[in-house]
């Protein structure tokens, strides 16, 4: 099987502008940031959540807490992948009760990751509201889950893969569409 890069979907500056816009949208729609917090889903949701929080500080000094969530224990496909699965720590240092939480991830696809993340969150308490922010929505949902804050919607086929490469993890900064060819 070959992996072929088909197109670049976003450059570094487009990622940056998109995150700025998402930060503004979240602040605008939340109606007060007192109970607002961001939860980055490991791995690439974590730097994205931190960057959105950074952008919010530039808006009007809004300082929102950022937590990280590892969803491995809540996956519904553990029987297929678990033996290789390596757990990471979740780190949510604030109480989630009555909070207005925004889950942050890089790509929204089947919706199963978000289902798992919500199960993880509800083990920690009862948030007032949970919304979802993603950099890319690529369609093909298998769950009744939608994002409220979306960077870009991309039409894809199921053999294609969207790779979000971030400087914190991948030492480069862009979003590419790759295809698996047999």
């Amino acid at each position: 099987m070959r992996i072929v890069e088909k197109a670049q979907l976003m450059s570094a500056s487009e990622i940056d502008r998109t995150l700025q816009r998402l930060a503004h949208e979240i602040v605008e729609k939340s109606g007060g940031t007192k109970h607002l917090a961001l939860i980055g889903i490991r791995r690439r949701g974590v730097p994205l959540a931190q960057r959105i929080a950074q952008a919010m500080r530039g808006i009007d000094g809004v300082d929102v807490p950022v937590g990280t969530l590892d969803i491995t224990l809540y996956r519904d496909d553990l029987s297929k992948v678990a033996s290789h699965a390596v757990l990471q720590s979740s780190d949510i240092s604030f109480g989630v009760d009555n909070m207005d939480l925004v889950l942050v991830d890089d790509v929204l696809y089947t919706g199963r990751t978000i289902r798992a993340a919500m199960n993880g969150l509800f083990d920690l308490g009862r948030p007032k509201r949970v919304s979802l922010c993603v950099l890319i929505d690529r369609g093909h949902r298998e769950m009744p889950i939608e994002s409220q804050f979306t960077g870009r919607v991309v039409q894809t086929s199921t053999t294609e893969i969207i790779e979000v490469r971030l400087r914190e993890i991948d030492n480069e900064e862009r979003v590419v569409l790759v295809d698996r060819l047999d």
Binding site: T72, Y74, S79, K80, A82, S83, H84, V86, D123
Partner: protein, 340 residues
Amino acid sequence: MTHRFRDLLALEPLNADELTFLLDQSKPFQEIQRHPLKKLATLRGKTVALAFFENSTRTRISFGTAASRLGADTMNLQAEASSLKKGESLLDTVHTLDAMKPDCLVLRHAASGAADFVARHLDVPVINAGDGMHEHPSQGLLDALTIRDRKGSIANLHVTILGDILHSRVARSNIHLLGKFGCRFTLCGPAMWVPRELEKIGAPGVSIRRVFRVEEALEGADVVLVLRVQTERLHEPALSTDDYVLLYQLSAERLRRAKPDALVLHPGPMNRGIEITPEVADSAQSCVLDQVTNGLAVRMALLFLLTAGDSENGEHPAVEAQAPRNRRSTDVKDPSHASR
């Protein structure tokens, strides 16, 4: 990183990277002990068989709670209630349990090598919950996790072990784990319990010395591991309980010989007033309750690593890449009969 754990029988064969991996995998489960809702559905539908051929309360409860917090069911076999009293062999008993199709077997047995013996005969993953005088790997892991949390690292510590080291699987698992991180060991206790052979049980290069005065043994220690004294092993005229208290009990005064931030560990259950004074047991240096909580985290991590996965299709690729495991059926002696 993928892992290659099929069973967990002993810490001795594991290298520092593998041990670090097991400790790191316990961290997310430490967080879960602090959650308001501690129950996960991760192992829903899986069954963990707890086969305890030797009395145990805390280890059995710890594994049982770990299984239930992961959403797994347990089947319990306890020595008193079991058919062992009716003369069934260890192998027949575990084959019977295995026929009920558990996804993991946790085994405690009075014979050294029992877990290894059972693992060779069954395809189900086996976790050794203590075998005779050999090893108690989950205890070694939870002790190391406790030390690492309090000290920040388990590298190059001076560890003093007090008590009946000869009969202690806890001491052996601790030496096999901490020795791989450059820790050095001082063993102290009555001479009959600290024979010269113990100096050689570590991997090559691990420093183990025997000291018979407790004050000298504690000098400069970073960690003091106090072992439970089996009072039935103390008897006149060799050594009475009073003699033991006088010569080896860990008291606050003696503990002052160790480093000011030295940690005190005890695998439990404690005999207050025999191997340890209540003052030390309840001091800020004592880690005994942390050990209990960390035991749950370690055991959840082990159950997760060994039983999550596709039980229908067997082993995952990282395991298949290894040489096929030899499940012998006839050429190993049943250790449960060896001691009779």
